[in-house]
């Protein structure tokens, strides 16, 4: 039997006011709505173990495998090689959450009607994308909190506090272009195709941008087309290592990729949904 008492005399309706039409949203509540969206987006992505474990654990685990276990002796004799390996894995650490967290989830959620529901429910403007962005930045931050102790304690890298702080800040902001690539794919592809498209960019970006190892000459010329190349140069410079190109150019390229793909994606979302 249903609980007739609670339905016929439901307490929550005691102060229901059906007459007031004007219902402004106080700024505090609006801000809270943005925070709630970000909180629950992060919470749910942490709970997807197939997403959180590889993206949070893998960068430090692989760094330790290559930088300590396999080639520890060589790295100790050549600190520059150790730092290079460190930059490679911190950049690798921000690629995945942005590209997969945006690309695959947006495509799937578009198909599943979630974006339409959020539009119908008048979720605050941009809160859905902002939540994903903050989730990615939080993942980038956590990756840094695993990479830095691993590098200092086990990799024996001579990093100063300022260098650690700079690299963390660069990497958190550096996740933006990868979010934008994911967003661009997620707003155009179906849920299943999006994962394939993301991989189609993710895998070559990892291997032919010079991230992990020096490239042959003919590939070196095209490595600047990849955002990973520019982000790694910024991280190398922040660690006082020799890097290619000017800082301004790297920042402009990364910002340009972010802005261009975001604008195209938002236009697409507004038009098609």
């Amino acid at each position: 039997m249903m609980n007739a008492t609670s339905i016929e005399n439901p307490k929550p309706f005691d102060n229901f006011d059906g007459s007031s039409l004007a219902r402004a949203m106080p700024t505090g509540r609006l801000l809270r709505a943005y925070l709630m969206e970000a909180r629950f987006e992060s919470l749910r992505m942490f709970r997807v173990l197939g997403f959180s474990i590889p993206f949070l654990v893998l960068p430090a685990a692989l760094y330790l495998l290559f930088g300590v276990v396999l080639f520890g002796d060589a790295v100790r004799n050549d600190p520059a090689a150790g730092k290079f390996l460190f930059t490679a894995f911190v950049v690798f650490g921000v690629m995945g959450p942005g590209m997969f967290g945006f690309g695959a989830t947006i495509a799937t959620e578009r198909e599943q009607g979630l974006l339409t529901l959020k539009r119908a429910l008048q979720a605050p403007a941009g809160s859905y994308l902002l939540a994903k962005l903050l989730m990615t930045m939080l993942f980038a931050f956590i990756v840094m909190t695993t990479m830095i102790p691993a590098a200092l304690l086990l990799g024996h890298l001579p990093l100063t506090f300022a260098q650690c702080a700079n690299v963390t800040a660069i990497n958190i902001l550096g996740s933006l272009p990868f979010c934008a690539i994911g967003l661009f794919i997620g707003t155009r592809a179906s849920g299943k195709a999006a994962i394939a498209f993301v991989n189609l960019i993710y895998v070559p970006m990892m291997h032919v941008s010079g991230l992990f190892y020096p490239l042959p000459k003919f590939l070196r010329a095209v490595s600047p087309v990849w955002p990973t190349y520019h982000l790694q140069q910024l991280v190398l410079a922040a660690l006082g290592m020799s890097s290619y190109g000017k800082t301004t150019i790297h920042v402009v390229v990364l910002a340009g990729v972010t802005v261009l793909l975001t604008v195209l994606s938002i236009r697409r979302l507004a038009r098609v949904g």
Binding site: P10, R23, M36, R44, L121
Partner: protein, 296 residues
């Protein structure tokens, strides 16, 4: 356009490619009513709702929500929505889903209050992905009401619900209407529309073919059903010119006619021992079938 309606479509046309989804549709939702929009698949129900929610723009005519264009923020903050096909994050718990949607509104229920209202408090800590299809609909219904909306759009809300859950939902809907909200319901369960609605609109091929109270819609179909227990033969009665059809159900005859008074007079005259006489008007389901077939 008038502000006396909380939602309104005026001479709205909407085309998708070669298909005319809505062809000059007029609809009005008044304060404090439960308004059912009925129609066969492809009649334009979902398109009409999407226009009222500002998810689509009309090619011609106008849509208004609380007297304003529906894509404005303020009128939509007074609206709750339950869509037919939506998949929510399976990893989030029921309470978390409701808390998130409640945060979009200026003066919502707390998640605990909303779940108490819809009788799903026991599901609060369950991950959404672990719920049955019916429980998921109950959660989506709770999300629709958690912002204390003045106007609620429900698209096939009771699909997959068991009897008890459906009764709870109906009781909540009646309570919302008693407290001054309006509800726009699209449903394939005509029994649901018949039980809950103050007014009904029947759509077919993007046009409004009938609207009014449930009784007014039923009255549009003149045919009535007479049942009785009689010694007269079914074939004999079927031959009467006023009678459209006769079937025998055990000892009782069921007679369909557009002139029930004349048939009752003849029955009583022909069989003085006639018993269990009952005359009944067509139900909403029958009226719906007839109206949509006529318009086809």
């Amino acid at each position: 356009m008038s502000n006396e309606f909380w939602a309104e479509l005026s001479s709205v046309k909407k085309r998708f490619g070669k298909t005319m989804a809505l062809d000059g549709l007029d609809l009005q939702v008044r304060p404090g009513e439960l308004f059912s929009v009925l129609g066969p698949n492809g009649a334009g129900k979902s398109t009409a709702i999407s226009l009222l929610l500002g998810l689509l723009k009309p090619d011609a005519g106008a849509a208004r929500l609380f007297g304003l264009p529906p894509f404005h923020v303020e009128p939509r903050r007074q609206v709750g929505v339950m869509m037919q096909e939506v998949t929510l994050a399976p990893e989030l718990r029921v309470r978390e889903h409701i808390a998130l949607v409640a945060s979009y509104y200026p003066r919502p229920f707390t998640p605990a209050e909303a779940m108490e209202l819809t009788n799903i408090s026991s599901l609060a800590s369950r991950p959404y992905g672990k719920l049955s299809a019916g429980q998921k609909r109950q959660v989506q219904f709770t999300m629709a009401v958690c912002g204390r909306p003045k106007l609620l759009f429900l698209d096939e809300p009771s699909v997959g619900l068991d009897v008890r859950a459906r009764e709870t939902m109906w009781a909540t809907l009646r309570q919302l209407v008693r407290n001054g909200s309006s509800i726009v319901l699209t449903t394939h369960y005509l029994e649901e529309a018949e039980s809950l609605s103050n007014r009904v609109a029947v759509l077919n091929k993007g046009r409004l073919i009938a609207s009014g109270t449930v009784n007014e819609i039923r009255a549009l179909v003149v045919r009535k059903h007479i049942t009785c227990s009689t010694a007269l033969g079914a074939d004999q009665i079927a031959a009467w010119p006023e009678v459209e059809s006769v079937t025998r159900d055990q000892q009782r005859l069921q007679i369909s006619t557009s002139n029930s008074e004349a048939v009752v007079r003849r029955l009583l005259a022909a069989d003085s021992n006639l018993q269990e006489l009952e005359v009944r008007r067509a139900g909403l389901a029958e009226a719906f079938t007839e109206l949509t077939q006529e318009a086809a």
